[in-house]
């Protein structure tokens, strides 16, 4: 029996196939959990967010448009569920602390890098202050809106926008 693709599994979940959800979970829960743990140090909160994620996949698989990478779609749900759990538990400060020490991105296709073709990207990102890097990571790598990033980092969305602008200027300068 050849293994079903993630796309097939998601379509089956949309039709109410519980076994397909289990298979998706077994393929994706571990890496999603590890990635969330880099954004939130509290294991209980991450576990709850992972559970919420697959419950949400179960309920809304029908809304997946059938294009793109299912893993990216699942991650998009997961990071938002993490924000949701953090909001209901009211533990902004903890998440903010965890994210400030957190990482940045090297992925392509993002607004930060528009017009940049050469230069030491990794080095330029490393030179950003932790606050600016956290914002770049949340908005670019995690694909969050300024408002969602603000919730994750525990800062107002206006601050997210100004930090993003400063990061963009600094990166352009470093990579020019």
């Amino acid at each position: 029996v050849t293994a079903r693709s993630d796309q097939d599994l998601l379509a089956a979940v949309a039709d109410g196939d519980r076994g397909a959800l289990r298979e998706l979970h077994d393929r994706h829960a571990v890496w999603v959990s590890a990635r969330l743990r880099r954004r939130c140090a509290d294991g209980d909160i991450v576990d709850e967010a992972v559970q919420d994620t697959f419950v949400a996949v179960w309920k809304s698989a029908g809304r997946w448009d059938g294009r793109g990478e299912p893993a990216a779609w699942i991650w998009g749900i997961a990071i938002r569920r993490l924000i949701g759990v953090l909001r209901t538990r009211g533990r902004w400060s903890r998440a903010a602390a965890a994210v400030t020490e957190s990482e940045i991105m090297v992925a392509a296709e993002d607004q930060v890098l528009v017009g940049v073709e050469h230069g030491d990207l990794a080095g330029a990102l490393r030179d950003l202050s932790p606050e600016l890097r956290a914002v770049v990571q949340a908005t670019v790598l995690d694909g969050l809106t300024s408002r969602e990033a603000g919730h994750l980092l525990g800062i107002p969305s206006g601050t997210v926008k100004t930090r993003m602008m400063r990061a963009r200027i600094q990166l352009r300068g470093a990579l020019a």
Partner: protein, 280 residues
């Protein structure tokens, strides 16, 4: 876009799975971006974790998707931040379940219709305070409580549960009555004269409920309220019911005083709720 030849080193994936915080920022970012597009590396990372963890995670999810959908009221309570346990206890309050809620609405609407036909606030002002009272009686009659026997075994059984449910019942009833009051012929401050008497009666039922069974307490208070309104009205001679002393400033102040006294009594005697004795 994806370079399929490159894969993350297995040791790095194992470290990322077990202790992601120890992976430095730049490496983690690169691994994360790769994981989204590489099923092989995701499988490798998953294999580094004990299958028991994955099974435990799935069991918790299966438990949630198999769970029956909570009642509407319970979901609303959860949405506004009430914990799920308390939400279920409140939603199981008899007066707040379908039939009870319907009865509250019918009683409130009935009182408003009576007032409309009489073209005066009087009937509504007299009857409205009895609605929360009836709801309180329905909530604390042990036979009416679907969670009654089970409730005895819960840690929150007792005064805490009685008081929380009373607040929920009275809150909902007041909301329904306030909506009904908007239908009164003359919506103004006078149309709100039922609020303090209703509060006094509901708190009075709780206070009396520390000596009597709550149905008895409610019966006594209903009788006393009707008698008081009637005698005050007779004494006042030839004025509309809504203008009698009960609904004047003095009457409202008396109701407030009764409410405060009753609240103090109920709070100090909270370990004597007679409705609970039935279970002991």
């Amino acid at each position: 876009m994806t370079n399929t030849d490159w894969h993350a080193p297995p040791a790095l994936l194992a470290r990322f799975a077990h202790d992601p915080a120890t992976v430095d920022d730049m490496t983690a970012a690169s691994v994360e971006a790769h994981l989204v597009v590489c099923a092989d590396c995701r499988a490798q990372l998953t294999a580094a974790i004990s299958p028991a963890h994955v099974t435990a995670s799935w069991d918790a999810i299966a438990d949630r998707i198999d769970r029956p959908r909570p009642a509407l009221l319970e979901r609303v309570l959860h949405r506004i931040g009430v914990s799920s346990g308390l939400g279920r206890l409140l939603a199981a309050t008899p007066a707040l379940q379908g039939a009870g809620l319907l009865a509250i609405c019918v009683l409130a609407a009935g009182a408003a219709v009576l007032s409309l036909t009489a073209d005066a606030e009087g009937p509504f002002l007299v009857l409205a305070p009895l609605v929360p009272l009836a709801a309180v009686a329905a909530s604390f009659t042990p036979a009416a409580d679907p969670a009654g026997e089970a409730g005895v075994a819960t840690p929150m059984h007792g005064a805490g549960l009685v008081i929380r449910r009373a607040i929920a019942v009275v809150g909902v009833t007041f909301g329904v009555l306030a909506a009904a009051a908007l239908a009164l012929p003359d919506v103004g401050p006078a149309a709100a004269a039922w609020v303090l008497p209703a509060l006094a009666l509901a708190l009075g039922a709780l206070a009396l409920g520390t000596w009597l069974r709550v149905e008895v307490a409610v019966g006594v208070l209903s009788g006393a309220w009707l008698l008081a309104v009637w005698s005050v009205w007779l004494a006042g001679r030839d004025i509309p019911l809504a203008d009698s002393a009960t609904f004047s400033v003095n009457g409202q102040m008396s109701a407030l005083a009764v409410a405060v006294v009753a609240a103090v009594v109920a709070a100090t005697r909270r370990n004597h709720f007679a409705t609970l004795e039935a279970f002991r």
